[in-house]
Symmetry: C2
Subunit: 222 residues, 2 copies
């Protein structure tokens, strides 16, 4: 079935949006992280950052194939999210390797939390493709040790990276809010799925709490 | 068995070099192509360029795992090739999307030709991992149509890209020569494998001929 998002029913339109934002998020994260490989100080770190980037491209590919299988045009589905995601990356260009690392870890974490929250509201085949993105957890764990080792002897960097982490979350939430205002259907997916505004608020609290936990794990308490 | 390249026998040292140069070539091509995704004018082209980049990372990973399985330290094996491969990319930074595309197609082609030439001289397990890199041919074919479509109406670009292709081959051969001078074992692999200097010369002629064929396919006869 060939499906124009604007004509689809509310649920379908919401799933198109959700798949579109996830796919474009993965594609862009892939490009940004691969570019940040250049900043890695050793071959082994280049390689580990490359593994993270490649995993994101493969998720993008699975999401894209899932869309094609449902008669959704991936490019049309991704188009509304090009500007906000580009704005996020534009406003959070890492200055140096450590900021790139923290961004990869924090960004991966926020994305996975968001996948986890949204799987509750979608049909089974969409759940399955989202689940796949959640399964390769652990790829980003090398970051924790590097950051902890660095800040043990460098408190200035610790302070700077703590601030950077707050900024990453702030920019992510502010772009997410801009998207929610523009894309009624996706916001309605949550509410229509039985969530009330209180639930949505609690979801954002959970995202923020999990972010805080990741910062603490890196030793970046703020 | 743990093997220090410098203590290994001639053949082993040559295979370490060969695997090292192939692995680092793939890793770097992955980073460069992923970065060039940013220049792609449409989402579909970003996606196709991303597929090329990801395939290169997966080859890198296979080569790296193959080395670990043989007791070769991938980082040590890649180290001698960091400078010449960085020099190649430094001297061939694409100015714009089309140059990036042509570089991806031409670079992929030269790399595959080199894999094909070298498989004759290595043991079977190494052959198998090199073969894998040759199998996903076709990923780069989208480039041909885009370049042909562009130059049909833009002869200035055709001239510029033809020059660019010659430059890419020239820089690749000049870095290859620098590597051959520095890495006796790898050069000896060819000759020791039964090839005389005439054979090596003919190999370079074949690489150049194949490059010319790819340029012609894109409509970039020079």
């Amino acid at each position: 079935m060939d499906q124009d998002p604007s004509e689809a029913s509310g649920y379908d339109a919401a799933v198109v949006d959700l798949l579109g934002v996830l796919a474009y998020g993965e594609l862009t994260a892939f490009i940004r992280m691969a570019a940040d490989c250049d900043l890695a100080p050793t071959l082994s770190l280049k390689s580990q950052m490359g593994a993270l980037a490649t995993a994101d491209y493969l998720h993008y590919q699975q999401l894209s194939e899932h869309m094609v299988g449902r008669g959704i045009d991936p490019e049309a589905a991704m188009a509304p999210f090009v500007a906000p995601i580009a704005a996020f990356h534009e406003r959070t260009r890492p200055r140096g390797w450590l900021e790139g690392l923290v961004k990869a870890y924090v960004g991966d974490g926020i994305a996975k939390d968001f996948y986890r929250e949204m799987t509750a509201f979608v049909d089974e085949p969409t759940q399955a493709v989202m689940q796949a993105a959640l399964e390769d957890a652990g790829h980003a764990d090398f970051v924790v040790q590097i950051v902890r080792d660095t800040i043990r002897t460098d408190r200035t960097t610790a302070g700077r990276l703590a601030l950077w982490g707050r900024r990453l979350l702030g920019e992510a939430l502010s772009q997410a809010q801009a998207v929610a205002v523009e894309r009624d259907a996706m916001a309605a997916l949550l509410v229509g799925g039985g969530a009330d505004l209180g639930d949505v608020g609690r979801m954002f609290t959970r995202l923020t709490d999990n972010h805080q936990r990741r910062m603490t794990r890196m030793g970046l308490d703020s």
